[in-house]
């Protein structure tokens, strides 16, 4: 009886273990080591929403080198809600939400455009109309935050510098505390505020979000 019970316990486990070892032990799950880093981006410890928004701006300014900083500033479940008019123009419906990876792909695509390679970007957020604590220590809404994305382009050396506002709008920003005690942006609700395109309109074409 003892032998049978022992088999009952160990047999299936050994079968699973053997299969798992075959899959995991033959290099199929090996990962590469990172290269020695160059440059340095000083980021703020994201222990409150203010630090997160500063890190987001740093990520934008550092362009391709800032993708990691941007990724960290957005929660895993981050959603970017396009302005209804932007959504309607591109997708034919009012409600379109980009995921975190779609948002990052859209930004990466936007700054990779051939015409934009020599540009420097800067995003500035104005004060929110109101900061609403939805759940103390866990969820915060910054209501009606104005923003401006500007580009500075140098041509013919540093003598000619052109600066332009390429995206503008107002957002409702939701911040959530991640499990590690750090904060991140969990939702960005974009709103058109002028004739200048929104940030969402700039990044959605390269986001890869499927059209209905």
């Amino acid at each position: 009886m003892a032998g049978k019970r022992s088999l009952a316990c160990r047999g299936p486990f050994l079968v699973l273990l053997a299969i798992a070892v075959v899959f995991t032990g033959c290099g199929l799950f090996d990962i590469r080591d990172p290269m020695q880093p160059i440059g340095e981006i000083v980021v703020h410890t994201p222990n409150d929403p203010d630090s997160v928004i500063l890190n987001f701006a740093l990520g934008i300014e550092n362009e391709r080198g800032g993708i990691f900083t941007l990724t960290e500033a957005l929660a895993d479940t981050f959603l970017f809600k396009l302005d209804p008019s932007d959504a309607q123009t591109s997708y034919g419906v009012n409600d379109i939400f980009l995921t975190r990876s779609e948002t990052l792909d859209g930004w990466r695509s936007f700054i990779s455009g051939a015409a934009l390679r020599n540009e420097e970007f800067r995003i500035v957020f104005g004060p929110p109309e109101e900061k609403i604590v939805l759940v103390t220590g866990a969820l915060v809404l910054w209501d009606e935050v104005p923003y401006e994305l500007t580009t500075t382009m140098s041509a013919g050396g540093d003598s000619v510098v052109t600066k332009a506002v390429i995206a503008q709008g107002v957002i409702d920003l939701f911040f959530a505390e991640k499990g590690s005690g750090n904060w991140a942006i969990s939702r960005w609700e974009d709103k058109i505020d002028s004739s200048t395109p929104t940030f969402g309109a700039r990044i959605e074409t390269g986001s890869g979000h499927p059209r209905p």
């Binding site: 049978k4 088999l7 009952a8 047999g11 299936p12 486990f13 079968v15 699973l16 299969i19 798992a20 899959f23 995991t24 199929l28 799950f29 990962i31 590469r32 080591d33 990172p34 290269m35 020695q36 880093p37 160059i38 981006i41 222990n47 391709r64 080198g65 993708i67 990691f68 960290e72 302005d83 209804p84 008019s85 309607q88 123009t89 034919g92 419906v93 009012n94 792909d105 990466r108 695509s109 936007f110 990779s112 455009g113 609403i132 604590v133 103390t136 220590g137 409702d172 499990g179 590690s180 005690g181 058109i192 505020d193 002028s194 004739s195 395109p197 309109a201 074409t205 390269g206 890869g208």
Partner: protein, 634 residues
């Protein structure tokens, strides 16, 4: 050119005209039909109204379907209005109506007429956008049965389509209009045989629209687009075989494509009014092999193998262009062996992508996971679960290269010593290594290791009162390979307690308390490798809630809930403490009631009061949340 404004009226006129048709005396209407609108229509009306923080959405739907004398009419209409008071002038509208009239011509050829009209519109301070589209079509179907088990169907159609898009950005109007002639041909065939349980299906569809898109406000000197034919095609071949009960095998091959030309309407002046040429191709192969004995809940086998190729080209919006090749297999096995319930899952997906702006890259996803569950007795059972997950992406430019490996192992046990008490204990360990490979990104690489234990306890004190408690202890170690000074530990302890009691047959009370204590700080390893924890921050979070629920009738519930939150953050370096607290008070009514004569009315309304108490008393916020819906069949 049909006037789109006249279309809704025309459709209503059409419906009204039909309402005058008398049912044939040979087919007397059922008694129930005489109670319908006009004596024969039985429409359904649905409506819902949502308010969340004063942002509203009102949705309405109306549909009906009726059949008489071999004629079927089917209508579906929806309308939605959105408003947002934080955006003073915002108002969004979406509406669509589709009507299909089907009848049989020459007694053998089913014919259908389709009318579809949709209108989308948004108004905002500086932006107005409108999209109106109308589609109409006449389709005829011819079915042929060649011999038992083999039949074919041919559908031919012709119609008109029109789409108007207008956007007004700060007084500057842009947009396009497009009127086209549609032709559609669909052929399909089914064959069951040549051996029992085997079947084949082949289908092909071709849709062509000949049109000349036009910008409503072209750039001076801009030539009008040439007349073009936009096409969509879809082809598929499916094979399936069920050789014996519980065993299935199937495979399918599909190839879909489209070539579309249209005028871009965009606020990007470099793209607006330009004629876009979009070409999309998708080729896919899917196959599966499955085995599940009839009536078995413990044994199942399924293997899926798939491959697909997607190619999207764009002339103007090149950011939307991409190519990808995906190959995947997915294996799921479930089996009971000597008293153990085993589950095993293995998955591999290789995706090659090529995008004009992101470059060329390969993403590999590999997952192996499995579980063993064993009921040792009627009161005691255990479960082991393990998972390994890899995500690896490699791009030509190297900058987006990333490798992530996650391992997870859980052990849990459930114990129910007697009917009033149930308990469970879980121990878990996970490791998450994420490496950004390129030198410009690699500083973000990190390793997270989590150890945790949790225990649950549910105890029924009496027939009226029960208590549940959950204890959790978690330690998260995060380290960065290129900056050991950033290594940190977060230790947290949580106790969640809920007491529920039934005060009377209509009144229940629930009290809850959540306690969370978190310690944060950096760590370094000594010579022996032991982590030395330097605590820098403490966080105490508590939440108390009381909920009183009164249910005077089966369909009506009132509840009132009060929640008090308090968070204390303590910085140990200078012993600085920040306390924040908040109170919320929610009153709620839920109404769910059938409507006499068919249908349901649901209403869920809540009024929230929220006030920040610390660190500074804030204003009392009030907001209203409501969800109302009505479904009614007439």
């Amino acid at each position: 050119v049909p006037s789109t404004r006249a279309l809704p009226g025309a459709i209503l006129f059409f419906v009204g005209l039909l309402s005058g048709v008398r049912p044939a005396s040979a087919q007397p209407p059922a008694a129930a039909d005489t109670s319908g609108v006009f004596g024969f229509l039985r429409p359904t009306y649905t409506t819902s109204y949502n308010i969340t923080r004063q942002a509203t959405t009102w949705q309405q739907g109306f549909s009906f379907k009726n059949q008489w004398n071999g004629i079927t009419i089917d209508n579906n209409t929806t309308y939605r209005v959105q408003s947002d008071p934080s955006r003073v002038n915002f108002r969004g509208r979406e509406g669509s109506t589709t009507t299909t009239l089907s009848f049989s011509a020459l007694n053998t050829v089913p014919v259908s007429l389709d009318f579809s009209y949709s209108r989308l519109g948004n108004n905002d301070t500086n932006v107005k956008s409108r999209v109106n589209s109308f589609d109409s079509g006449l389709k005829a179907t011819y079915n042929r049965r060649f011999f038992p088990g083999a039949n074919a169907s041919l559908v031919g159609g012709i119609g008109l389509t029109r789409r108007d898009t207008r956007n007004n950005f700060s007084g500057s109007e842009t947009g396009s209009r497009d009127l086209g002639l549609t032709r559609e041909l669909t052929a399909s065939g089914n064959y069951t045989g040549p051996v029992p349980g085997m079947s084949f299906r082949v289908n092909t569809t071709l849709n062509a629209v000949r049109s000349q898109p036009e910008a409503i406000n072209p750039v001076p000197g801009q030539a009008r687009s040439e007349t073009r034919t936009n096409t969509r095609n879809s082809n598929g071949l499916t094979w399936s075989w069920a050789p014996w009960e519980g065993m299935t095998a199937d495979a399918s091959f599909t190839r879909n494509g489209s070539n579309q030309n249209f005028i871009l309407v965009s606020r990007d002046v470099d793209k607006n009014n330009k004629e876009e040429e979009a070409t999309d191709r998708t080729t896919a192969f899917n196959s599966s092999l499955g085995y599940k004995p009839a009536g078995s809940k413990t044994t199942e086998f399924r293997l899926d193998v798939a491959a697909s190729n997607v190619e999207n080209k764009r002339l103007i919006e090149v950011e939307r262009a991409n190519k990808s090749n995906t190959r995947s297999f997915n294996l799921n096995v479930k089996h009971r062996l000597i008293g153990n319930a085993l589950t095993f899952h293995a998955e591999n997906t290789d995706e090659e992508q090529d995008s004009g702006v992101l470059g060329r890259g390969v993403t590999i996803t590999r997952v192996v996971d499995g579980a063993i569950e064993r009921p040792w007795s009627t009161t005691f059972s255990t479960r082991l679960y393990g998972e390994v997950r890899l995500r690896s992406q490699t791009y030509d430019d190297g900058e987006q290269d990333y490798d992530g490996l996650k391992n997870r192992f859980d052990v849990s046990a459930d114990y129910k010593p007697w009917t009033k008490l149930s308990t469970s204990l879980t121990l878990r360990r996970s490791a998450d290594e994420g490496n950004y490979i390129d030198e410009t990104q690699s500083r973000g690489s990190r390793f997270e290791e989590t150890y945790g234990a949790s225990a649950n306890l549910n105890y029924t004190l009496s027939t009226r009162t029960s208590i549940s408690q959950k204890y959790d202890f978690t330690s998260l170690f995060t380290s960065y390979p290129f900056d050991s000074a950033l290594a940190n530990i977060q230790r947290s302890r949580t106790v969640n307690t809920t007491v529920s009691t039934t005060l009377s047959s209509k009144l229940t009370l629930q009290l809850g308390h959540v306690y969370l204590f978190t310690e944060n700080g950096g760590y370094r390893r000594d010579r022996a490798g032991t982590r030395l924890f330097a605590k820098s921050n403490l966080k105490y979070r508590q939440e108390m809630r009381s909920t009183l629920q009164y249910k005077p009738l089966d369909w009506l519930t009132f509840s009132t809930e009060e929640r008090l939150y308090r968070t204390d953050d303590v910085r140990l370096t200078d012993d600085f403490r920040t306390t924040s607290s908040q109170v919320t008070f929610t009153q709620r009514a839920v109404f769910k009631r059938p409507i006499p004569g068919g249908g349901d009315f649901n209403c869920d309304m809540a009024f929230d009061l929220q006030k920040q108490l610390r660190p500074r008393p804030g204003p009392t916020e009030k907001f209203f949340t409501a969800r109302l819906s009505l479904d009614k069949s007439f």
